[in-house]
């Protein structure tokens, strides 16, 4: 991965996933492994739309390794406001830094940025297209909670039609012989193209609109929000909205190793009483994001 950009989860091989996850684990277990690795390096964080959580996670990752950050998180204060093209912005900022981390509302912007500059680019979210480091931290969290990525039963709950994180997770986990339980309202089922992908790879999947159906079988429950604006018929939303709220009494007969993940921010899809059970893992998941980003940056700079 030396000197390479990370734009899409589809750019990574199974070996890449494992290398990043192993290194993240090594870093999380021993700060000596990463301290001062980025001394003398400047990383530009270019956030053309706000995303506080992602920006702080990347910034923390760079600072923990001794690097420095420059950048912006409000494009109205940058030259974009004056009508500068993305290409010109990237070419200019490339003169100042060793790595660009970009978040942009337009889809494909990160790929374009990586083509106009010679320095590596990490995609921190391009519209509804890709957010590969979110997927990496999801994988790392699954590995940490289950001690393996192979042969797991994964329940995906909520909005499976539009959720970028769900789609990326399916693509990434496909390398590890998973069984998927796809739980969503009818209007928000997993799109046909992803089901075709699963069929082509002979990956088992089961669909239902009821969370209770498979909950006793799964190792991971990955929850996303069911949003009102996704429904063409508001009555349909009212009918189903409470069926996708995870409450602690739902977890009574689940496997001991079950862990609940969520890309955050949570609104009401996991009730707060779940937070105090040992099945809740979503806040640790956020911390894992820092280590996985550190590992990725190290591999790009070939500092391992």
């Amino acid at each position: 991965m030396k000197g390479k950009s990370l734009i899409s989860i589809n750019d990574l091989t199974k070996e890449d996933f494992l290398r990043i996850i192993d290194l993240a684990e090594k870093y999380q277990n021993n700060s000596k492994e990463y301290e001062n690795k980025l001394i003398g390096k400047i990383v530009a964080l270019l956030f053309f739309e706000p995303s506080t959580r992602t920006r702080l996670s990347f910034e923390t990752a760079v600072l923990k390794m001794g690097g420095k950050v420059i950048g912006f998180d409000d494009p109205s204060s940058s030259s974009v406001q004056k009508g500068e093209s993305l290409k010109d912005t990237i070419l200019t900022i490339s003169q100042y830094c060793d790595l660009i981390i970009i978040r942009h509302p337009l889809e494909g912007s990160a790929r374009w940025a990586s083509e106009v500059t010679t320095i590596p680019v990490i995609n921190a979210g391009d519209g509804s297209n890709q957010h590969p480091t979110q997927c990496l931290l999801d994988l790392y969290s699954i590995k940490k909670t289950q001690n393996t990525l192979e042969n797991l039963s994964i329940m995906l709950v909520g909005d499976l039609k539009y959720s970028r994180t769900v789609h990326s997770l399916i693509m990434a986990l496909a390398h590890f012989n998973p069984t998927f339980y796809l739980i969503s309202p009818n209007e928000l089922k997993l799109p046909f193209e992803y089901k075709m992908f699963l069929k082509e790879r002979s990956i088992r999947y089961y669909e239902s609109s009821n969370v209770n159906d498979f909950i006793d079988l799964v190792d991971i429950m990955y929850v996303t929000r069911v949003q009102r604006e996704r429904f063409s018929d508001p009555v349909e939303y009212e009918k189903v909205k409470n069926s996708y709220v995870i409450k602690s009494d739902l977890l009574v007969n689940t496997k001991n190793n079950l862990r609940i993940l969520h890309p955050l921010p949570r609104v009401n899809e996991i009730s707060e009483d779940v937070d105090f059970t040992d099945k809740a893992y979503y806040f640790q998941q956020a911390l894992n994001g820092v280590y996985v980003r550190m590992a990725l940056i190290s591999l790009i700079f070939d500092l391992v």
Binding site: S8, N10, S85, L86, K87, H104, P105, L106, E107, G108, S109, R111, W112, D126, G127, S128, N129, Q130
Partner: protein
């Protein structure tokens, strides 16, 4: 009778004849071929009677043999088009068109939020289905199909 039919679009001595273009896509095919820079005679016919297509278009380019990659792009709109290479009034080679693996430029990405629709840059697609024409944008990763295919410009 046969002679008269042939002369609807005049014969060429040497060059390329692109035949069996559905009449309704002839002008789209012309825009792909970038013929404006060719200075040898070009004859274009449209709405000619065709047993297979009902109405067809035909393009005859004298003295030129366009690049295979350019000709293959015709398959975006006219997958059944036939290419005849003419030398000394004889057809010396017949070719069918086949979509290339990638399409650079020409086609607009269907996704209004795709960066290619906002920056001054070339579009780029991977052809993921050659028979039904499905193009995956290298940038936004969305799929443009034949029904919503638009030519740039």
């Amino acid at each position: 009778m046969e002679q008269k039919k042939e002369l609807v679009v005049s014969a060429i001595k040497d060059g390329t004849v692109i035949d069996h273009i559905p009449a309704k896509v002839l002008f789209k095919v012309l825009s792909i071929l970038e013929l404006e820079n060719i200075d040898s005679p070009i004859t274009i016919g449209n709405n000619l009677r065709s047993e297979k297509l009902g109405k067809k278009g035909i393009i005859k380019i004298a003295g030129k043999f366009p690049d295979k990659n350019v000709l293959n792009k015709i398959a975006l709109f006219a997958p059944l088009a036939k290419i005849n290479i003419i030398k000394n009034y004889e057809v010396v080679e017949k070719k069918i068109v086949e979509l290339p693996d990638v399409i650079e430029g020409i086609v607009k990405c269907i996704n209004p939020k795709c960066i290619t629709n906002h920056e001054n840059m070339k579009t780029f697609f991977y052809v993921i289905d050659k028979n039904n024409v499905a193009l995956k944008c290298k940038y936004c990763e969305k799929i443009t199909t034949q029904e919503n295919l638009k030519i740039i410009g």
